[in-house]
């Protein structure tokens, strides 16, 4: 039987590294600003949102350090949308490889999302610098921020595996997801503070906080910027409801990984 390599097999890691390096190198080939675009994109998005929502519509006047607050949300959102966008398309984009060589397919998905991870790391640095400039004092709770980023990455991977596997056969999935992310953007408190939703209807605010993306964004803001942030944990009373975002992520990741593994045997024929 053809040897089935273990998940963390050294050879797989080398392939992962090579593919990620290639992706990373090629992404910004031929652009004058090159890699700078990775940082500029969320910053520019932030600038637009800031002018429209903070300056014109006067959102978030009651929140300390609102610009940092907004930037954190945009950076995390950019990561999520980039990660899933790349991850879902990965198998199709790398169809040439899948048809010609045999290797564990999850490597392609992971490598395509790692560029987003690298971008996020740099963007988080930008957020931290921005936070310090705007007068947020560093605290020990900054240290647990990576935990929430891992959580968001787990969510992105779960979605990428599940939808990426379906997308091999039904290419509509990637397009549907593109539209869906547009809608999802508004279900998370990125441009509007959750307090605004709470003022209208506390129940609505609670439902919004069940969204794992909202939970992560709010938790990062809570630990990074201000303890006044409303989080899933401090706003919802019932312990089971508090756990809903985590449950969603775990279920998506497990189901996604299992489904992907089951289908991956036939990717070479279908892609």
């Amino acid at each position: 039987m053809v040897k089935i390599p273990r998940v963390w097999d050294r050879k797989n890691m080398i392939l992962l590294k090579e593919l990620t390096k290639t992706d990373f190198k090629l992404r910004y080939q031929g652009s004058v600003l090159g890699y700078l675009w990775a940082i500029l994109r969320p910053l520019l998005m932030f600038a637009i949102l800031y002018v429209v929502f903070s300056q014109i519509l006067k959102f978030g006047d009651d929140i300390p350090h609102y610009p940092v607050y907004l930037l954190t949300g945009t950076v995390l959102w950019s990561f999520f949308s980039e990660c899933t966008g790349q991850g879902i398309q990965a198998m199709v984009m790398r169809g040439d490889l899948i048809r010609k060589v045999s290797f564990p397919k999850y490597i392609v998905v992971v490598s395509s999302t790692l560029t987003a991870v690298i971008n996020l790391c740099i963007n988080i640095l930008v957020v931290v610098i921005f936070a310090l400039i705007s007068g947020v004092s560093p605290s020990l709770s900054w240290l647990i921020v990576p935990m929430f980023i891992v959580e968001l990455y787990a969510l992105s991977l779960g979605i990428s595996f599940l939808l990426g596997a379906i997308n091999v056969k039904y290419r509509d999935v990637a397009s549907i997801w593109e539209v869906l992310t547009q809608a999802l953007f508004y279900t998370a408190p990125i441009i509007y503070p959750i307090s605004m939703a709470a003022a209208m209807s506390p129940t609505a605010a609670k439902i919004l906080l069940l969204n794992p993306i909202s939970q992560v964004i709010q938790d990062v803001r809570y630990n990074l910027i201000t303890k006044e942030t409303v989080t899933t944990w401090n706003y919802i009373d019932n312990i089971w409801w508090k756990a809903v975002p985590i449950i969603i992520i775990v279920v998506l990741l497990v189901v996604g990984a299992l489904y992907f593994r089951k289908k991956s045997k036939y990717f070479a024929e279908e892609v």
Partner: protein, 243 residues
């Protein structure tokens, strides 16, 4: 001695979509109408053979006879419907030359990427690198992007990786004879030198190569083995397919 490759009762079929079933809309439509949306095409119908270590075996057959599917099953790219493929040792498949080659990467980067795809570690690639470059005669171009290579140079590089890659079993799909006359001669010499030292499975349409290099040949027709044995006899049988 244990066989390098042992194939028993291999069956493989594909679901070929009818018209345009590649879409969610059509899939739902077909499902509602009770249409299967695809046609089952049997490509391999019970293939069995063994290849001993050090053997040079040619697989021949007409277009669409199932050779490439068989090779992909050997390489583990496809999974069989039924039957077994047993491989002893590491298998290096070249279903196509230069898999993953990217025009924006340098020759050097492409070698390492290609190597990683074939399952070689960086260390193993380091050991092979000089030989590959030397065989390809591209010493002065390794820092250049692949897009600046002539097509002949690209094939030479890809081909050199293929034949310099150190694996127990080498699988080649119709990739002999690339480059100019001199390079071809070099490749021929190299293949001749492999004789007895390296297990090679070669899919080809060139009967000349079958007669020249192979210890044994297998003729496949419509998913079944119709003749197996002496390369000259099998090559003759192949040519008679059109009579």
């Amino acid at each position: 001695m244990k066989s390098a490759i042992k194939v028993t009762g291999l069956h493989k079929s594909f679901n070929l979509p009818n018209e345009k079933a590649a879409g969610l809309k059509q899939a739902i439509f077909n499902y509602l109408k009770g249409i299967k949306g695809y046609k089952k095409q049997k490509v391999l119908k019970g293939i069995s053979f063994e290849i001993q270590p050090g053997e040079f075996v040619g697989i021949i057959g007409r277009n669409g006879s199932g050779k490439s599917t068989l090779l992909k099953l050997l390489a583990g790219i496809y999974v069989p419907d039924s039957g077994k493929v047993e491989i002893d040792g590491t298998l290096v498949p070249f279903i196509e030359l230069g898999v993953g080659f990217n025009p924006e990467l340098t020759g050097r980067e492409n070698i390492y990427l290609n190597g990683a795809l074939l399952g070689f570690s960086n260390k193993e690639m380091d050991a092979m690198y000089d030989e590959i470059v030397k065989f390809a005669e591209l010493e002065d171009f390794m820092g250049q992007k692949l897009k600046n290579y002539s097509s002949g140079m690209q094939v030479r590089l890809a081909f050199s990786i293929a034949i310099r890659a150190k694996g127990d079993i080498l699988i080649l799909d119709e990739v002999l004879a690339v480059g100019d006359a001199e390079f071809q001669q070099k490749c021929n010499d190299y293949f001749a030198s492999l004789h007895g030292n390296q297990t090679v499975v070669l899919v080809t349409h060139s009967m000349e190569n079958v007669r020249k290099f192979c210890d044994r040949a297998i003729l496949i027709e419509q998913g079944k083995i119709v003749k197996e044995g002496d390369p000259d006899e099998v090559a003759d049988a192949y040519l008679k397919l059109w009579d």
